[in-house]
């Protein structure tokens, strides 16, 4: 099976984020990591390859710094990587991102394309689905189980509120992967060493000339959301805070 995994670099979960002066985006001087569901998508591809053979290719559309997530994927076992690199890609909407990926993989025949189900930054939850439409392939979203069958795949979809559904899907197809589908591996020292010799193809904006179109939606402003409730913030030393909490639990809430 030849599998493409679309991954993205996003700010680290714990990174304190600040708005830029124009109030249109965050300040970029923060630590980054791979988007969590994308890590599960990569792991799933690696496991499928281990079971059925084939090739795992990773791709990212992002600024030069995002090469790091490709390096990590190669160290974990991906065979090769494609980087569509340009600073301006930070502001691509989901349609443009999907178009960029479609152009980059033209002529390569994949059996499956995996993406994370959404990214922590924009949270569009669209890139994989849009890619399927551009390629004319079937797709399924929020997948938490994949088994190969005679005719294609048997998928387990997560639905809302603890419900699930099995579904049969032909190949080729695009799947968006939910966190928790598998157990993530760590890169080994050996893997990190081997990654240095694996192919990492660099493509620039010029490869996409005339094929991206313009963004169909515009972020007019970004801001800190307004609070829905008034929160009583407790201050003091840990012991003082503990005493205040106990007072609230006992005298206001009467739970102890």
């Amino acid at each position: 099976m030849k599998i493409l995994v679309c991954i993205k670099q996003v700010p680290q979960k714990d990174a304190p984020l600040k708005l830029n002066e124009a109030g249109t985006w965050i300040r970029e001087d923060v630590p980054y990591e791979v988007n969590e569901p994308d890590a599960y998508a990569l792991e799933e591809a690696l496991q499928q390859k281990e079971k059925h053979g084939g090739e795992v290719v990773v791709i990212t559309v992002g600024p030069p710094r995002s090469q790091q997530v490709l390096r990590e994927a190669l160290a974990k076992g991906a065979d090769r990587a494609i980087h569509l690199a340009d600073d301006s890609f930070v502001t691509l909407d989901a349609v443009s991102t999907a178009r960029a990926i479609a152009v980059a993989i033209e002529g390569q025949s994949f059996d499956m394309i995996f993406t994370g189900l959404q990214s922590d930054d924009y949270g569009f939850a669209q890139t994989g689905v849009l890619l399927a439409e551009l390629l004319g392939w079937p797709h399924a979203t929020i997948i938490i189980g994949i088994e190969k069958t005679e005719s294609g795949l048997r998928l387990k979809r997560e639905l809302e509120a603890g419900q699930y559904q099995w579904m049969d899907m032909p190949l080729p197809c695009v799947l968006t992967i939910q966190s928790g589908i598998n157990k993530l591996r760590y890169a080994t020292l050996m893997g990190i060493k081997q990654a240095r010799n694996k192919p990492l193809q660099q493509l620039t904006r010029t490869h996409l000339e005339g094929k991206l179109g313009t963004n169909l939606q515009t972020i007019e402003r970004l801001y800190v959301p307004t609070k829905q409730k008034t929160t009583e913030m407790l201050q003091g030393s840990p012991t003082e805070i503990a005493k205040k909490l106990v007072d609230i639990l006992r005298n206001e809430l009467r739970v102890i």
Binding site: K13, P16, I26, E36, D120, G123, A125, V129, L130, A132, E133, P138, H139, A140, T141, I142, E158, L159, E160, A161, G162, Q163, Y164, Q165, W166, M167, D168, M169, P170, S179, G180, T214, L216, Q217, T218, I219, E220, R221, L222, V224, P225, Q228, K229, T231, E232, M233, L234, P238, T239, I241, A242, K243, L245, V246, I248, L249, R250, L253, V255, I256
Partner: protein
């Protein structure tokens, strides 16, 4: 004719998804400000009861789009049928609830029409004749006001669960137009099977009056013991955010949120939980929410009644000490 806002109501197994009524309420609110009219469409097979329920809302029309091939949801059939329907009607704006089903077909439908979906909006603004949708970014740390780059028609947006109140949807009597459609052979490429639940849940968190919920801030599995002790002191139960269950540290039936349980205990203590929307929808009905998080900007503080910005490992041990003293009658 005024412009039209078309609401796509959702049904599964011939039951209306209640969140559709929130979208109807959102559409009615936008219509009031813009002077546009609201129409509602629902797809399926054997959906007379749903049509009736929707027809009792204030709307210019309800479209019932019926076909045996729409009995079970597939993105293939939905995209096929809705593309034709929307291309023919050209509503200015299409509104949908941000459900798993909508996430599955809406982006594809929009692209097939050369359009885009603004997903997961929590509200809208109508400023000087310009319609903006407010949505969360960076897992709720920021909000963005987003506009469509073109002039329409066929703008599309989805609203997050509970962004509007479904019971606020105005009532009325809308005429129903039934459209029988067929989906040509070969369009549906996937075969969906029955919807099911995993084996019965061992714990029912909804019965608990006090919940101590842990998130990734708990750091290691062995630290769960501390949270369990706190829960015990409160006579309550331990619960968790998704990453804790994904890691296998707690079973899935302890997960709170959109893909786990929805609960509303008297007391909800969130330890090291950031407050992503998928978690919040499962617990925001709690009477009192206490959040302990080391990041003052964590979105959980937007809904907390009582907040502590601190390392949870500094706070929880003395808190339990004090609780034990109180319980022992030391005060």
């Amino acid at each position: 004719m005024p412009e039209t806002i078309l609401v796509l109501a959702e049904q599964q197994q011939s039951k209306l998804n209640r969140v559709s009524l929130e979208t109807v309420a959102a559409a009615q609110a936008i219509a009031k400000e813009t002077g546009w009219q609201v129409e509602i469409a629902v797809l399926g097979h054997d959906i007379a009861a749903i049509e009736e329920e929707l027809a009792a809302k204030k709307a210019a029309k309800v479209y019932a789009i019926e076909s045996p091939q729409l009995a079970a949801y597939t993105s293939d059939a939905y995209v096929h049928v809705l593309k034709e329907f929307l291309a023919g009607r050209q509503p200015k704006l299409v509104l949908m609830p941000h459900t798993y089903q909508v996430r599955d077909f809406a982006p594809r439908l929009a692209l097939a029409l050369g359009k885009t979906v603004i997903p997961d909006a929590v509200g809208y603004k109508y400023e000087n004749g310009k319609l903006l949708f407010t949505r969360q970014m960076f897992q709720g740390k920021f909000a963005a006001d987003v506009s469509f780059s073109d002039a329409g028609p066929l703008w599309m947006a989805t609203f997050q669960n509970a962004a509007f109140r479904g019971d606020a949807a105005e009532v009325g009597t809308a005429p129903v137009e039934t459209l029988q459609v067929t989906v040509p052979d070969g369009v549906i490429r996937v075969q969906p099977h029955e919807i099911f639940r995993e084996a019965r849940q061992a714990v029912d968190l909804s019965q608990s009056e006090a919940i101590v919920a842990v998130g990734r801030g708990i750091k290691e599995q062995k630290n769960l013991a501390m949270a369990e002790e706190l829960a015990k002191l409160l006579g309550g139960d331990i619960a968790a955010s998704r990453p804790i269950c994904d890691a296998g540290w707690l079973p899935l039936d302890r997960q709170v949120g959109s893909s786990g349980q929805t609960i509303a205990p008297k007391l909800y203590i969130a330890l090291g939980i950031s407050g992503a929307i998928q978690h919040i929808v499962g617990m925001k009905g709690s009477r009192t929410i206490i959040a302990i998080n080391k990041d003052a900007e964590a979105p959980i503080f937007e809904i907390a009644d009582i907040g502590v910005v601190a390392n949870l490992f500094d706070i929880v041990p003395p808190l339990m000490e004090e609780m034990k003293k109180v319980k022992a009658g030391a005060y």
